[in-house]
Each structure stands twice: as C-alpha cells, then as structure tokens.
Symmetry: C2
C-alpha cells in the first residue's frame, strides 16, 4: 500500500485568516476555496530505518523536515502507529509561482500517511488530519469548491465538498509579480490580525459571506462570486492595514495590479482579484476573457509570470 497520493493546491475565495487554536489549527472563521488544476503535490510514504524527507528529489533537513516530521509524529500518536518513515514529495508548483503549496503538501502527506499504514479513513476524517498539518490543506481533499467549516473543536473542524464538478465558467490567472519570500509568514500575519478594530466585525460577517458565496456558486453567478471574493480579500488586507501595528502584504506592484484589474473591468471585460498573504494577485475571470486579460498583464508587467488555472480534482491515489 505504498501509494503515491496526489493533492492539488487551493485558493480561498472566503479567506482563512485567524486561528482559534494554534496547535489544533482550529480557525476563527469558516472558509471556502477553489481547488486548482495546474498546481499539485505528489507524495509517497515508505518504510525506512530513519526519518527522511525528500522534496523534488533532494533530501531536506532543518525546518522543512522538522515541520513534516512534527506533523507525522502527531499523526502516529493520534492513530497509534510507530516506525520511521521516508517521505518522497514532488511539488508540481512552479517554484517561482509564489503560490503557497502547503495546502497540497499537507493534504497529500496526510493521504500518503494513511495509505502507508493501510488506514481506511473517510474524506471527512482525512480533511481533519490534513488540517493538523496546515489549515488550508483541509480543503485540498476535495476538487472544485470546498468549504472548511470552522467547527468548535477538533472533531467538528473539517472541510467538505460544496461542488466537485462545477459547471461555472471560472478561470484563475495566478499572476506572480514578485518572487521574494514574503516578509511576514501567514502564521505571523494571522497572529497580528485580531488586533485590528475591524477583526470582530469581519468575523461577525463570516456566515453571511459564506452563505452569499455558496449561493453565487449554486446560481452559477460568476459576477457575484467575483464581487464577493474581491470584497473578502480586501477585507483581509484592510484588517492587516489596521492591525496594531498595521502591516501590508501589498507591494507597489500589487497596487498597480489592482488598478489594472479595475481598469480592465471598467473597459467592460469582467474580472476580479483575490490576494493572499503575499504581494501576488490571482485574477478570477471567464474563459472568453483569459487571452485579453493575460495580454494586458504581460504588457504592464514585463517580468510577471502568469499561469492559467481552472478547477482541479480532489485527492487521488496513483497506485
């Protein structure tokens, strides 16, 4: 049962940005994501006489290995398993893409762990286990659209599929403006965010935003989905700006990209942006407009790398 497990990265349209419990990775809000087709991680867990971690063929040491094995030891303890493990991962995420790959990495790792120990777990259970490695990984168990319900404890905090085969014409252009490592980790940003006077009002809106986004998806309403996603991302960055002290993941190029999205939209080509804990932007659009939007971004940002994405599948077992 030494299977290679594949999980795709996901991008939150309703963001996860605050922890209720750092150790269990319980979130302060529910989140909703789109699983992507182009970025994914393949991971295999095999028997070993010592703990080893290979990423893209290179053995990893230090904090990268540490985080993986801290996580695996949590899973072993929780599931009554023992033994040294060798983890082999391949990240099919352009290294320069600046897109966090922890969602696919920990979802694939959770799946490969269970496969190695022949543990039969439901996808709901797998989502809970993935959550312990990285919150966003809980959503990468599913394809299409997934919701991570915040829950109230370890048992009730997991993701489920909202629509694994969406009919909606939704494309995501991952625009990498800056390849620098982010100046503040997601964990760091999340820990500062609650100091914003707008954080509690934002939390109070979470169910309403989630319901509105769910309805937009059910109605195949691209415009509404885009508006809601852009607002939610803006809320997250407004929270950061008003934290004590304020901070921002925006770089000058981020503002230029926001203005370009606004300009393209004003010209009649519908598109929206979402932005995570970094300077890069993801553009939500429809297939018919991908070419023109890409052209305009390439024209304004000479060095930007753009990857077109649509819906990816849930976790899969390659053999």
């Amino acid at each position: 049962m030494e299977k290679t497990v594949r999980a795709h990265t996901n991008i939150a349209l309703i963001k996860y940005w605050g922890k209720a419990d750092a150790k269990l990775r319980l979130p302060l809000m529910s989140s909703l994501s789109m699983t992507l087709d182009q970025f994914y991680t393949d991971t295999r867990v095999v028997k070993s006489d010592q703990d080893r971690f290979f990423l893209n063929g290179s053995e990893q040491t230090g904090s990268s290995k540490q985080r993986v094995f801290d996580y695996l030891h949590v899973l072993q303890k929780r599931l009554g398993q023992t033994g040294h493990l060798r983890v082999e991962s391949t990240n099919h995420v352009p290294t320069a893409a600046g897109l966090a790959s922890s969602s696919s990495a920990f979802a694939a790792l959770a799946g490969a762990f269970c496969a190695y120990y022949k543990l039969e777990v439901s996808r709901k259970e797998l989502s809970r286990l993935a959550r312990l490695g990285s919150g966003s990984a809980s959503r990468s168990i599913y394809g299409g659209f997934a919701i991570w319900q915040k829950g109230t404890d370890d048992a009730s905090s997991y993701a489920y599929a909202l629509d694994e085969k969406p009919k909606l014409d939704l494309q995501l252009l991952a625009v990498e403006l800056n390849q620098q490592p982010k100046f503040l980790s997601s964990t760091g940003g999340m820990s500062q965010a609650p100091s914003s006077p707008f954080f509690q009002p934002w939390l109070a809106r979470n169910q309403e935003e989630l319901a509105a986004m769910t309805k937009a998806i059910q109605d195949n309403d691209f415009s509404r989905l885009g508006q809601l996603a852009e607002l939610n991302a803006n809320e997250m960055h407004a929270i950061n700006l008003t934290a004590a002290p304020g901070f921002t993941y925006f770089e000058p190029a981020t503002i230029a990209a926001i203005k370009l999205v606004q300009k393209i939209r004003a010209s009649g080509i519908e598109c929206y942006y979402t932005i995570d804990a970094g300077p890069n932007v993801k553009i939500l659009c429809q297939l018919k407009n991908v070419k023109e939007i890409t052209k305009q971004f390439v024209s304004e940002f000479e060095n930007a790398k753009i990857v077109m994405q649509s819906f990816g599948p849930g976790i899969s077992y390659l053999d």
Copy 2:
C-alpha cells in the same frame, strides 16, 4: 473694512470621511486636525459691479468660480446681504504640493466675506460659516490643534480650538509623490465609503479615537499621537478598500512610502504617516529626526517634493 484674511491649511489626524448632510456639510464623525504653518490662503472681498473671482492674479471662470459664488450666495442669503463681489485669493500652497487647499481657501473666504460686510462674528460662528464651504475649512479658523465636533445640526456642527499653542514637538513632512489630480474627489470617495462593512464599526469608534488623541495631545505624547493618527488614516483607507466596489487612493509609490516609514521606524527613528484622499503621504516626526527622514525619502523618491511644516496660527486679518 476690505481686509485681507489669511487662513492656514490643516491636516486631519482623526479624519473627516463621510457626510450626514451634503448640503449643510454635516459630518458623520468628529475630526481633529493640526493647522500647518507653511501653507495658507490670503483672500480679500471687495465691491464689484459683477461677481468675479481672481486666484493668484488670474480671473477664474467655470466650476472654480461657480463653487466660490454658490458658497457666497449661501452666505449672503443666510446673513441678509446683497450685492456683487470681487474675490481676490492668493494660495500660498506650492501648486505642486498636492495638498488640498480647500480648508484654507474657504476659511479665508468666510473671514473675508464677514469683514467685507462688517459682520461681527465669533470664531465659533465663523467656523460654522466656513464649514458650509468645505467641511475641513471649519477647522482652519484655529491654530495648533482643532476639533470639529460633528454636532447634530447646522447650529451644533463647528470646530473649536483644542490647543492653539501646543508645546508638543510635532513636525509634519508633506511628501508629494505624485502630482496627478486625484482620480476620485473627496466628495466622491466620501459618498462611497459608507458601503464598506467596516464603516459603521469605524463610526462607533470615533468618540474613543477622539478622546485618545486628545489625551495624547494633552500628555504631549508624540508616540501615542503618531500611532493613533496612523491607525485612523489606515482605517479610512481600509474603509475605501472594502467599499462596494472597493477603491484606493494609494498608488504604487504610496505603498513604497508606507514601507519606508515602517523601515525608518524599525531602525529606531520614530515616525508615523497619515494619508488623505490622494496618493501622497504626510510624515509625523520630531524635530531631531527631520533631517534623517528627509534624507531617506529624497534618496528613495528622486522626484518627491518635501515640505517641512509645524503648527500654524488661526485665521488672521492683515488689513
């Protein structure tokens, strides 16, 4: 009594950003400002056989003249005066400074109007009259720090002096990054701002923010004043970002300037920023650090124009 009246511009440390009544210019929140010493407007109203408006020696027509005379006709009607007027104004604001001069312009105009008609009005009354021309002008009647209490109607909405001769060592560096006219007027931005989900929570904080800023001023606490001013400005821009639809006055250079303030501060040189309805930034600092901060800004922003300011006086009559 054809006196020339001088009024100085002011910068809000607690912002005015929303109207309860557009015609009467009643605000949704109270605001607090610092009157500047370097930027001011001199205005004289004299008898004329037709309404004419001269700015910096050039006769104005169109919307510029229209706004001035719409305002003067409101004052005439309210105060029972008649007759054509000739207005002569000189703006001692570097044209390229990008600093709104409407606060000094309408304060000086209100003063010159009253002088022309020999109306004896208190400063409180003059503040109310100036408010009818431009909300922020209500604060330019006073020097040092002024508070514009929002009030509930025309009679109760006026500014008063908080401290006209502050002992606080507070310098303001007006950094002009961009000379383009702003893409959205203050009036336009203010009308969109209330659509933000964070607008009501922000309003709910107004009295608390005002009290904290007042205490910082009374305590001569530069650090606290700077922190509060920066937070309040960030709140205003967070409101704009999360409006429906979101918008921002930030330009790429604004983000670069914010990051430079953060960097200088992290290096141990205390400074804070405030930003109004435009891309330019105003840096709050102490005298001992003006030189170093200016040096660093000039070094990063080759084309930036920087004007050092401190406290200006209230309205004055030159004769």
